[in-house]
């Protein structure tokens, strides 16, 4: 039996939203660590807000205050991409396609959503925040574990993977975008040590530090980090890695040629980008181009499988 178009769309979005929540949680955790190592004046919380997509939702009151930013990213109901909202959106999408998933998967997400709703507001506080963020990441991983170990590799499964990987690729480019926003012109007297700390933070927020070190066996250096996160397809959070996973899923779906074409286009865009790791504006522009290619892929999938 073929997958209903409406169900395909809901699965895809359930996956995107939970991946978005997970991504935000990872980044928020890592960022706190980085800031602790830096002189208070050199970096602020405000760049983190860009993680959540665009600045259009950004209320004027949000400045560089840690509490405000954490509140905005975790518990703000007005902010569509806050963790509390993305977990809810994911749950609502999954609730309406429970019939295609193993039951345990729904229960995992439902459980997380009950927890997040109850704990989000109090978890903005720094002392409780880490536990909350770890739980979001862990439960999101558990959900994929449940699907990995109990779900038939049918079209529904591939739709879920597509949602996960496109969102993950997007998040990786956003994390690099945040880094771009904090790349300051190197002032005389400022040492490379801080630069290294910040690139380390980038790797940490994608849970990539250890894998980077194993893969490069070298020091933390900007251009190498960017290359790793964009092009090392063996690393599952790299943009190239995500595109490879999407390619695998797409080949298992019906009528895939235009969708596959869009993946290849995104891949070409990625390889063309060759961004400079020391120039904030250039890195930001390159990441934006990749994001545009991903958005195009999203549109093509919608055309092919949902509205057709």
């Amino acid at each position: 039996m073929a997958l209903l178009s409406r169900v395909a769309s809901r699965l895809y979005w359930a996956a995107r939203y939970i991946e978005r929540a997970e991504g935000s949680a990872r980044v928020l955790r890592a960022y706190g660590d980085v800031l602790a190592d830096l002189p208070t004046t050199s970096l602020r919380w405000s760049p983190l807000v860009t993680i959540s997509g665009s600045d259009v939702h950004l209320p004027a009151v949000i400045g560089s205050d840690e509490h405000q930013v954490a509140q905005f990213l975790i518990a703000d109901r007005e902010h569509p991409n806050s963790i509390v909202n993305t977990v809810d959106h994911s749950r609502e999408n999954l609730r309406t396609c429970r019939e295609v998933l193993p039951r345990e998967a729904w229960q995992t997400l439902n459980d997380l959503s009950i927890y997040v709703r109850g704990a989000a507001v109090t978890s903005v506080d720094r002392r409780r925040r880490d536990r909350f963020l770890v739980r979001v990441v862990d439960e999101s991983r558990r959900l994929d574990g449940v699907l990995q170990s109990t779900m038939t590799r049918d079209e529904a499964f591939e739709m879920w993977r597509l949602g996960r990987y496109i969102e993950r690729a997007d998040m990786t480019t956003r994390v690099l975008g945040v880094r771009a926003a904090t790349l300051l012109p190197v002032a005389p007297g400022q040492t490379d040590a801080f630069n290294e700390v910040q690139w380390m933070g980038v790797l940490r927020s994608l849970s990539a530090l250890q894998m980077y070190q194993r893969a490069t066996r070298g020091p933390i250096d900007g251009p190498a980090v960017v290359r790793f996160l964009l092009f090392d397809h063996r690393f599952p959070r790299s943009v190239a890695g995500c595109l490879a996973e999407m390619r695998t899923s797409i080949l298992r779906l019906p009528e895939y040629s235009t969708v596959l074409g869009a993946v290849e286009a995104a891949d070409r865009q990625l390889r063309r980008s060759r961004p400079a790791a020391d120039d904030g504006a250039a890195l930001d522009a390159a990441m934006e181009e990749v994001q545009v290619a991903l958005a195009r892929l999203d549109g093509v999938m919608h055309e092919q499988y949902v509205v057709h």
Binding site: L3, L4, S5, Q107, N110, Q304
Partner: protein, 500 residues
Amino acid sequence: MVSSPHHLFTRSGVVGWWGLRSAGVDELLEADGRPRPIASDLIELIHRLGIDDLRERQRVCDLEILTMGISFTVYSDGENIDRAWPFDIIPRLIDGDEWSHVERGLAQRLQALNRFIDDIYNERRIIDDGVFPAELIDDSANFRPECQGVHPKFGVWAHISGSDLVRAGDGQLYVLEDNLRVPSGVSYVLENRGIAKRAFPELFQRYLIRPVDAYTDELNKLLHSLAPADRHDPTIVVLTPGTFNSAYFEHSYLAQRMGAELVEGQDLVVGDDDCVYMRTIQGLERVDVIYRRIDDLYIDPDVFIADSMLGVAGLMRAWKAGNVAIANAPGAGVADDKCVYAWVPDMIRYYLGEEPLIANVPTFRCMYDDEREHVLANIADLVLKPANESGGYGIVIGNRATPEELELTAAAIRADPRNWVAQPILDLSTGPTLVADGIEPRHLDLRPFILTGESSYVTAGGLTRVALTKGSLVVNSSQGGGSKDTWIVDRDRSSEPVEA
């Protein structure tokens, strides 16, 4: 806490059960407060646990319901709220022998009702033979002229039904009404059982309790059997009005358990070939059987309510052409009417030549002058029911209504007598229920689910609904009712003591 076996306890201590009882019978306790033989193991266990442990077990159940996402949707203050399903930990027990009789009675009843519906939309023999009054059909809100001349497979229209049963003060079970349109609640029967098993594992070892799990499989078999003859590996779908419907949880649940697709009206389309298709990621795919959970009037905007966003244009055309089966068939509701109800015993005699195995509640039909005069003269002692409402709405209970309400009701009856019936006020049976103040009796009813196709199937038990408010008779979940697991207990090991 120590207490004698014929007392149940409250938070404040031991209280004589009798003092809490209403006039009706209790499902678990004899008139003197002693446990019925069937319930003795259960009551003994409750005593051994004590109120705190029982509450702890209830708390675990509530938590499980929340995490498993067992919910129903309530519409209130312009918002749809997904609410956790209310479950009372103390089960309702019914003797297996009694239940076997009820099963036969329900199967018999649904056979007669289906013969009636098929007759009404075709030959109308029952009217020609003077057994059933024609005028009841002509102005019935649930009669669909568009269905005349259709002969669904096996002559069955109401494939899935849920008749409400109550136990009256005389200890007998009566059919209170037949729900032949889109009865809901069966998913909670199955979920309640899963929770009860974990709440009282020691009792499931001790008692011989009939399993309920087979329902979805039986439903799946029934739906397959309805497919057009030339369709060998039929595609079955459950048609839901959508996520905002109060029973959405159930629609999703049934689709999950049958491996069927859960579709909304927007997912389906009727082609020029009069076949029904669903929109999939590969394009259109033929649909053979639709288990619809949408009311008749919304299923096809071409035929019924024109601006319905829930239905599928052309569905009736496809159904009449025999290209798709619809369960329940459109028009089946003609026999689900509080007036028509009064004739069900006559239908059983007329079509099957048998005596009814389960009784109707005595019903006064206001369309007849003598019965109406009796109703108007005794209005404060009766339950007044409008014929075509469901969910307990519009019902007036004579001894609880104000004089003004009775006045208005009497006027409504005089204005539209065909639309009203009246029944004696029943002393609904009670069951011990865990509430804020301890364990107290609460009124119950029971909705078993009956599948009718080539053969019949009745759930082992059904959904026991509880009126959680003290003294209330309203059991509907939409109005604050709760639920209990229902155990059909076969006598065998239940006489042995429970292990600690």
